[in-house]
């Protein structure tokens, strides 16, 4: 039988049973839409996370935090988190040749920040003047604080755009006086916008102040929480990390066998960490989508079986007038595949609408990968073929005499 005739014959059979055809399409539609949306969001999220990791480790850098053990997935360090001192970072800058410059971090956490009548809940972070260079994020209005500000624990602040919007509205923020807790600060700059970080934090809802100010005026401590160390791109990162580790162990008087009271994180580690922590989009949702697809396939297969049972007479007749086994196979494989292919096309349309809605409402950002639509369509075709196998086999085995009696 010619393929075009087989297709026409299958399409006619489908239009003869509109409700059943519609239900089969619905089965595919739901599964393939779910799969497409999940794939796009999953890839989009992964891309966004990786982008931010690249940004965080721009150039070549190492992050140093106080406390020991693993932050995630491993035993949490029980060691003190008060042992990392500004002097340690100075020593690293001076004594490890590959180190270019290092930022120091000490935070206040979420705090109430007030301006005249307005107040906002903002993360207050202490940095050094090296922060713009080290993090690749400085002030795009006004200026970031200077070495002198850090040296004098000046009460100056660089505010993120979200903070500026909530506190000042249309007012020019530069030169305004705000309060962090009870301590007055002068806003000297606005941070370059950054967006939402992998953990869902709004990185524009931050205020940067000198770390020394956090230490002395806001928290009254003599240690810092962390440092980001910029390393000569030509130098070996692992060797540099080892040199830093050795230096810090010596400075902290750690005997051989004693665990570190600090942690060194390299970009490779972070990428691995992100890859494994991305399990919501990476594993769980695809499984849900897969289940939806399998359920859709089962719906199609069952309705096709129903169709074969109802059409025993038709099948018997076709065989009596000359349909060969493969003609009957094709008839039913084509029917189920045609249904799921159309269902798949509709699903892609629906997925595009859904994703458009998600993007418009800012729930997630992603690029729309057109390849994913092809995957969705491919899956729909495969589901159709798979769902058609059992029905087609049953149809092909129909005994024409039985069916025509």
């Amino acid at each position: 039988m010619k393929i075009s005739r087989a297709i026409t014959s299958s399409l006619r059979a489908l239009t003869r049973h509109k409700l059943r055809t519609f239900l089969m399409m619905l089965g595919t539609l739901i599964g393939v839409t779910a799969l497409t949306v999940v794939m796009v969001l999953g890839r989009g999220t992964q891309d966004a996370v990786m982008q931010q990791v690249e940004r965080m480790f721009s150039g070549s850098s190492i992050i140093l935090t106080s406390g020991s053990g693993m932050r995630r997935g491993g035993p949490h360090g029980s060691g003190p988190t008060t042992t990392l001192l500004p002097a340690d970072i100075e020593a690293i800058e001076e004594e490890v040749p590959a180190v270019l410059v290092a930022d120091r971090l000490q935070g206040l956490g979420r705090s109430e920040v007030a301006f005249e009548g307005a107040a906002a809940d903002v993360r207050v972070l202490g940095h050094s003047q090296a922060s713009p260079e080290v993090w690749n994020r400085g002030a795009n209005r006004g200026s970031y604080f200077s070495e002198a500000d850090v040296a004098t624990s000046a009460r100056v602040a660089v505010a993120g755009t979200t903070v500026v919007r909530t506190l000042f509205g249309d007012l020019d923020p530069i030169g305004q006086q705000i309060r962090i807790g009870t301590v007055p600060f002068e806003v000297i700059g606005v941070l370059e916008p950054f967006g939402i970080d992998p953990h869902g934090l709004d990185k524009d809802n931050e205020i940067h102040v000198p770390y020394t100010t956090v230490m002395r005026r806001l928290r009254n401590v003599d240690y810092i929480a962390a440092s980001k160390i910029l390393v000569d791109p030509d130098a070996d990162l692992d060797a540099t990390a080892a040199a830093i580790e050795e230096l810090l162990r010596a400075r902290h008087g750690l005997a051989a066998g004693e665990p570190n009271d600090f942690r060194l994180i390299t970009p490779t580690q972070v990428r691995e960490m992100i890859a494994s922590s991305n399990s919501t989009f990476g594993v769980f949702l695809p499984i849900v989508a897969l289940i939806a697809i399998i359920a859709g396939g089962a719906v199609v297969a069952n309705l096709m079986l129903l169709s074969v049972n109802e059409r025993r007479f038709e099948i018997g007749l076709r065989k009596a007038v000359g349909a060969r086994t493969r003609d009957v196979w094709w008839q039913f494989l084509l029917e189920s595949t045609a249904v799921t292919t159309v269902g798949g096309l509709l699903a892609i349309g629906l997925a595009i609408l859904t994703l458009g809605f998600i993007r418009i409402h800012g729930m997630a950002d992603f690029v729309f990968p057109w390849a994913v639509t092809l995957v969705g369509l491919g899956v729909a075709v495969l589901v159709g073929l798979a769902a058609g196998v059992l029905p087609a086999r049953r149809a092909a085995r129909t005994d024409p005499i039985d069916a025509l009696r």
Binding site: R16, L317, R318, G322, D327, I401
Partner: protein, 240 residues
């Protein structure tokens, strides 16, 4: 060489508590161009015989040669191709596809052939049974006699050598039954071999040969000496 040569064909059905010999040592040979009527009481094995003749069913024992070839050696697909090219079926209950136009019903055998001009051929076959103007009607919109004529168009559309009709007029009034018989006689005149199963003694007289079968065995097999012409019978009905 005969077109059909059956020798010692047996077909037995087993139910839980009894055994039926639907065909019991049937030997029958039919030449090209014959018009054979098969008669017999209900359950005597007429449909079973027709199914074997049409290669829809295989005998348990005995041999069946069609055009000199032993069809027991054919695969299911070879038999399908054989039916498609050589045999046309007409059934008592028409067996048209519902919600499918007359022309599409007639095209059905053609889509499994290698003919390319299928809608032309189907149209011609419909014209042949006088239904050219009903091509786009569905079975539900046709009378019983018209439906059976569509079924005959489907049976002859592939130019078969052999037409097997199992009580084609069983569900029709006598006039429509005669029309069907007239068409079959017409085809027979053109050289198509026809095997017709019928209860009706009058219709059986329109064949050229009469075979009577009882309990799966051939009881009598003789030429029709007082053959009747269906067209003449139709005219007589019209006059009355």
């Amino acid at each position: 060489m005969s077109m059909i040569e059956m020798d010692g064909v047996c077909k037995r059905y087993r139910k839980e508590d009894y055994v039926v010999d639907a065909l019991d040592d049937v030997s029958l040979s039919i030449d090209h161009g014959e018009f054979v009527a098969i008669r017999g009481p209900s359950g005597s094995g007429k449909s079973t015989l027709l199914n074997v003749l049409g290669t829809l069913d295989r005998p348990d024992r005995g041999s069946y040669r069609l055009n000199g070839r032993d069809v027991s050696t054919f695969s299911a697909d070879e038999l399908a191709a054989l039916r498609n090219r050589k045999i046309g079926f007409v059934f008592q209950s028409f067996h048209l596809l519902p919600r499918t136009t007359a022309i599409e019903n007639v095209e059905l055998p053609l889509i499994y052939s290698d003919r390319s001009d299928i809608s032309d051929l189907a149209r011609r076959a419909l014209a042949r049974v006088g239904l050219a103007d009903r091509a786009s009607h569905e079975p539900g919109e046709l009378s019983g006699g018209q439906q059976q004529r569509v079924a005959i168009a489907r049976a002859l559309v592939n130019d078969p050598d052999l037409i097997l009709a199992d009580e084609p007029s069983g569900n029709l009034d006598s006039r429509s039954g005669l029309e069907i018989l007239a068409t079959l006689q017409d085809l027979n005149v053109e050289g198509v071999t026809v095997v017709l199963v019928t209860h009706d003694a009058e219709l059986a007289r329109m064949a050229s040969r009469r075979v009577e079968i009882v309990d799966g065995r051939i009881r009598s097999d003789e030429p029709v000496t007082d053959r009747r012409d269906a067209v003449a019978a139709l005219a007589a009905v019209a006059e009355a």
